[in-house]
């Protein structure tokens, strides 16, 4: 694979984490415009762990996921009382609050003669683990693919067990869910925590690939894209949001056919899909047909 292909595939992989994160909340019946905040939290905490504290990469990723999941649960605790538009606005406000906080967040230490760490709006450079460990881009792509595989595997386990069914029941009819004995609040907090952890995992991987991160990268547009991927790709399967990323980054951005017009084409595509297939290309009926076909 040439360097360009590797970089496009890495990008697709990283955005897939964010897209799956937003997708999980869509399944649980909530629209979040704020998953980029957890991507940022993962990027900053993972970067601080390896670059400033000089922890091993794996420990940096673990701390990022743990922090993303913890903040996800903490933010969900008050906001799950909201629903629909109100929840969407609350998540947006939280994400902007996170970005504004990172703009003034400075935490620098002297590492081998260089001041290293986040420096407010100037960003956070020198997250150099990939170079220090001598990881080639192809190998790093394999790490991204492995982590993404783990997330897909987790969702597959939840689909086999009761997790995804719980999320879908609470997402479709919270009143019925409660009468079936399911705690809507707890289920939604669990979903938000899971979504936060997955986005933070993507963020930590992103920071180590980019080596430089700054608050402006985690803007509202990033979150809107993440949400749109699930809506385009479909809510019937975890492969839906990944399909959404493939369409946007794999086709529109990489093929350069729509160079300069990508955002217009993408925006139009979102509108079109939402009108024709409100629950995306791989929606529930489609997946039902696939499953029926597989059972034969």
């Amino acid at each position: 694979m040439d360097g360009y292909t590797i970089s496009v595939l890495s990008n697709i992989g990283l955005f897939a984490f964010l897209a799956i994160s937003a997708w999980i909340l869509l399944i649980a019946g909530e629209i979040s415009f704020g998953q980029q905040a957890y991507f940022a939290i993962g990027a900053y905490s993972g970067g601080i762990a390896t670059a400033v504290w000089q922890w091993p990469f794996a420990a940096g990723v673990v701390i990022a996921v743990a922090l993303g999941a913890a903040v996800g649960a903490l933010v969900a605790w008050p906001t799950m009382r909201l629903s629909g538009l109100h929840y969407a606005i609350a998540t947006l406000a939280f994400a902007e609050l996170t970005r504004a906080s990172l703009n003034v967040f400075t935490y620098r230490r002297d590492i081998e003669g260089f001041a290293t760490g986040p420096d407010g709006a100037n960003g956070f450079g020198d997250i150099r683990w990939v170079y220090e460990a001598g990881i080639e881009p192809g190998a790093y792509l394999a790490i991204i693919a492995g982590c993404l595989g783990a997330v897909i595997g987790l969702v597959a386990l939840m689909s086999y067990g009761r997790g995804m069914a719980r999320l879908r029941i609470v997402g479709e009819d919270p009143i019925l869910a409660a009468m079936q004995g399911l705690s809507v609040t707890r289920t939604k907090i669990a979903a938000a925590s899971l979504a936060g952890g997955i986005a933070a995992l993507g963020g930590a991987l992103y920071a180590h690939l980019a080596t430089y991160i700054e608050p402006a990268q985690f803007s509202v547009m990033t979150g809107v894209h993440a949400l749109a991927y699930g809506l385009i790709g479909g809510l019937g399967t975890v492969l839906g949001p990944i399909l959404g990323v493939l369409i946007d980054i794999g086709l529109l951005e990489s093929l350069r056919v729509f160079a300069g017009y990508r955002m217009i084409v993408f925006g139009g595509l979102v509108v079109l899909v939402l009108i024709v297939r409100p629950r995306g290309l791989l929606d529930e009926p489609t997946m039902r047909r696939v499953q029926a076909w597989l059972r034969r």
């Binding site: 987790l154 386990l157 939840m158 086999y160 067990g161 009761r162 997790g163 069914a165 719980r166 879908r168 029941i169 479709e172 009819d173 009143i175 019925l176 869910a177 409660a178 009468m179 079936q180 004995g181 399911l182 705690s183 809507v184 669990a190 629950r279 529930e284 009926p285 039902r288 499953q291 029926a292 059972r295």
Partner: protein, 250 residues
Amino acid sequence: MAAALEIAGLSLRFGGLTALNALDLALKPGEAIGLIGPNGSGKTSLFNVLTGHHAPDAGSVRLDGNETAGLPPPRIAALGVARTFQNLRLLRRLSVYENLRAARHARAPWREALWQTPAARRREQDAMISLLALFGLASKTHEMPEALTLVEMRQLEIARVLAAAPKLVLLDEPAAGMTPAETDRIIRAIAEHLLPGRSAIVIEHKVQLVTALCPRIAVLDAGRKIADGPAAAVLGQGEVRRSYFGAASC
């Protein structure tokens, strides 16, 4: 014998509207009571309070001695209350099987959200499919609810109540919109599978269904209980006939 369900002084108000007005009602274990009354008399509101969807403004509800008034719906469901809905409440994005299984998630341990052993999953599948078979729905296991007829949808709701293994069953117009033949099927399904060993409250306008299932009938009017007793006696009372069928039919 102690009452399975004891409702005392139950009141529910929505602003100036009194949906339930100091209602008293007691059910013996295993007893099925028919609840009738004109539209807006508070029948469904009573179900909404009994399942925790609405918190009452006053009064108490005791289920096997446990106070449930004001508890959140999941806690009440865990104590063994399950209901059907007048307008059908099926999950239309989930299969018939998953609709039925919805009643089982709450009592399963949290770890099964992530990991259900293949053996446990098979056991559950067998149990759910034999439950569907009771209602002749086994062949529809993997269909979406929209592929079912109205009777089948009602039967799926009843099967879902059964899957929750409740102590108290609340049926809200289980034969609404059905032909007499379909009503017969529903009556049989309820009598054979749902009522044995359980207490039940059945809201229904169809006298055919109420008298077939419930030896006892209570009548609500404007949130108050205006009659309560053996079915034949209650249906013959003048006040009941006036409030229920209107003054003209007296």
